[in-house]
């Protein structure tokens, strides 16, 4: 199945070909989790603070489904 993925801020260095605001589709096996996606994308666990699945925060062990969009971000805040 296919999942759309994107990364923000300091995590962009792990997907240098993605333009700002860009995303890519990756093939994963059914039952995959955000943690699996991180491994495929080469995102170090200690640098990922937030995962958002279909615009809602998700746990890293939640199972994703075909066509989902998952975004990863480091620690962010501000004002």
């Amino acid at each position: 199945m296919q999942v759309e993925v994107t990364v923000f801020a300091t995590l962009r260095k792990y997907l240098p070909d993605l333009p700002v605001g860009g995303s890519k589709y990756i093939e994963v096996d059914p039952g995959a989790t955000p943690a699996d996606l991180m491994q495929i994308l080469g995102l170090p666990a200690e640098e990922v603070k937030i995962a958002i699945r279909n615009h809602v925060q998700t746990e890293l062990d939640e199972i994703v489904e075909d066509g989902d969009r998952v975004a990863f971000a480091p620690a962010i805040a501000g004002g």
């Binding site: 300091t10 937030i50 615009h55």
Partner: protein
């Protein structure tokens, strides 16, 4: 030398130095401004009339050697925008210089004879009242430049044309280390209250000043070291971390992803052009144009977070500092504008005219909804600032903020609380921040209780932004701790490392205790914060505010916000719980 108060009366042009009365002796920053306003300003007074005052106070640790990121000054008074008490704080050069002159607060009061304008020069030797005729009608870029010719390396506090016109969206400018007017005590129109005192600018020269007395140097040193380590360790605030590398606009993409980015006058929670106006896009522009632009810029000496930036124009020359998330939202997504260069130019206009960028952008968005121009019309929006500069009736309406603009254009979707428009987080999609908007004594204000930390950023725990449960208590906890941090002189962004790193929190409290000679623990910090909130809420009650004013606008209860298709569903009783303790404790 004990700290002093400097009282400046513009009716008779007299300045007096006073001992701090015991009742105010423990306060700094927001605690000091709110205590003085609470005691000395009639809550029923007209904000522009003779009985209002502006109080300027550096924080507890501001001006001390090497307390990290602690250069904030608080500005307080009764707000012409909201009619409530107001504290607005900013970085820039003023806080440290006021503190180093040995001053805990400057009180500006009285009104001058008609059409008499002054600028003040405050040094260790006293206050000079100077004729400001040559400065009138000028914007803050020129004012800062002119005043540095005679007073180099000083702090310049000033108002642009908006403050001269006494518009409700007039902010107070403070120069940054490059002497640019990028730092603003923007919210609530206190620039108009300074204008009503006949003051165009205030120069602070701390040469030869006594400096800040530190009661317990050992405790201060221990505290500031622990806090510094926490800031340098936390992923958000460390060098090359999210804030340092991308500035506050690092939030643009993530809040958009979470469906909470106010778009086209709060009609949607996502903007298709968000990436083009994000912190990542700013960093790319800075790198590509390879000129005077930079990220990781400090707004005051001694800041180790350095979340500010200098945005370059197409030729690489510095155009404006700082392009922040709030600005990219208000002048960007909320107006349907995705052109970063035009947003930067509008930000420069705000900084020059002396306008709060949040209220300015939101007012343009209302005018767009009212048919003055189309959403997304970047050039048209930029030209509207000439209306304000030229003092046209349209310019004056826009400069009065969102509510006045909505009335003028017959718009019912008015995203305000207590007269102040909402910042860059949609409360229908992020419920806790909605509680803060509704109940803060300041009107809709994200900084007064930043529940975004656990609701979006995973700082200080993790909570679902879309649920109502527990959000009243959460908001109060954040509002109380924020009132303490706003009094300390530390930048509010120290909140993120100290929420996650216990030694950092203890360090912050120890450093305050060390300067003030107070016996303080973490629990005391919350209690002091609540004491400040209580004064502010009581002021507002006496100004005529009731629990019915602690509500979000009606349209948010029935208009579903995409992409989550949610409305504001919080029970009024939950909102009323937030400040029930004011009359119980």
């Amino acid at each position: 030398m004990a700290r002093k108060l400097l009282r400046i009366n513009m009716s008779d042009l007299k300045a007096t130095y006073e001992d701090i009365p015991k009742k105010w002796a423990k306060w700094g920053g927001r605690g000091m401004t709110s205590a003085i306003v609470f005691d000395e300003v009639d809550p029923a007074c007209h904000p522009l009339g003779p009985h209002n005052k502006v109080v300027i106070a550096p924080g507890w640790v501001t001006g001390t050697p090497a307390a990290p990121s602690s250069g904030r000054s608080s500005f307080g008074g009764k707000s012409p925008l909201t009619g409530t008490i107001k504290e607005s704080n900013a970085g820039g050069l003023s806080g440290q210089k006021i503190a180093k002159l040995g001053l805990a607060a400057i009180i500006l009061e009285g009104t001058p004879a008609k059409d008499q304008w002054h600028y003040l020069v405050i040094t260790k030797d006293g206050v000079e009242f100077k004729d400001a005729s040559d400065l009138m009608g000028k914007g803050m870029y020129e004012i800062d430049e002119i005043l540095w010719k005679d007073h180099p390396k000083t702090a310049v506090i000033g108002i642009g044309q908006a403050g001269e016109m006494k518009l409700s969206n007039a902010g107070i400018s403070i120069n940054d280390p490059e002497n640019k007017p990028g730092r603003y005590a923007g919210r609530g129109g206190l620039g108009a209250v300074i204008g009503a005192r006949g003051i165009k600018a205030i120069v602070i020269d701390d040469s030869g000043g006594p400096g800040v007395e530190i009661a317990n140097k050992g405790l201060f040193e221990k505290g500031r070291k622990n806090l510094t380590e926490a800031i340098q360790e936390h992923a958000l605030t460390k060098k090359d971390g999210g804030l340092n590398a991308y500035g506050t606009d690092v939030l643009m993409n993530i809040i958009n992803e979470a469906g909470g980015l106010p778009t086209r006058n709060f009609s949607a929670g996502q903007f298709e052009g968000a990436a083009k106006i994000s912190g990542e896009a700013i960093a790319e522009v800075v790198e590509k144009r390879d000129g005077e632009g930079m990220t990781g810029h400090g707004c005051h000496p001694g800041c180790i977070i350095q979340c500010s930036n200098i945005y370059p124009d197409e030729s690489g020359k510095a155009l404006v500092s700082c392009l922040e998330y709030e600005t990219a939202f208000s002048l960007g997504s909320n107006c349907g504008i995705d052109d970063l260069d035009t947003i930067a130019r509008m930000t420069r206009e705000c900084n020059d005219l002396g306008l709060d960028t949040i209220e300015a952008g939101n007012s343009i968005a209302i005018a767009m909804e009212g048919g003055l121009l189309e959403f997304g019309d970047a050039e048209g929006a930029l030209k509207l600032f000439d209306e304000i500069r030229n003092k046209t009736p349209l310019g004056r309406i826009l400069g009065q903020g969102v509510e006045a603009t909505a009335k003028a254009f017959g718009v019912h979707r008015v995203p305000t609380v207590k007269g102040q428009s909402m910042p860059a987080y949609e409360p229908r999609a992020i419920k806790g921040i909605g509680v803060t908007y509704a109940t803060s004594p300041m009107g809709a204000d994200h900084t007064s209780g930043y529940t975004i930390a656990p609701e979006i950023a995973g700082v200080s725990g993790k909570l679902d932004p879309l649920t109502d449960e527990g959000k009243a208590d959460l908001s109060l906890a954040f509002q109380a701790s924020t009132a303490f941090i706003d009094s300390s002189g530390y930048c509010l962004f120290v909140a993120f490392p100290i929420l996650d790193i216990q030694t950092g929190f203890e360090g912050m409290v120890d450093s305050v205790a060390g300067v003030m000679g107070m016996d303080l623990t973490g629990d005391d910090a919350i209690a002091l914060g609540k004491e400040i909130l209580k004064m502010e809420r009581l002021f507002n009650e006496r100004a005529g505010f009731t629990k019915e004013d602690d509500r979000l606008p009606e349209f948010m209860r029935y208009e579903k916000l995409p992409p989550h298709d949610v409305v504001w569903s919080m029970a009024d009783e939950e909102l009323d719980k937030v400040y029930a303790w004011v009359h119980e404790d």
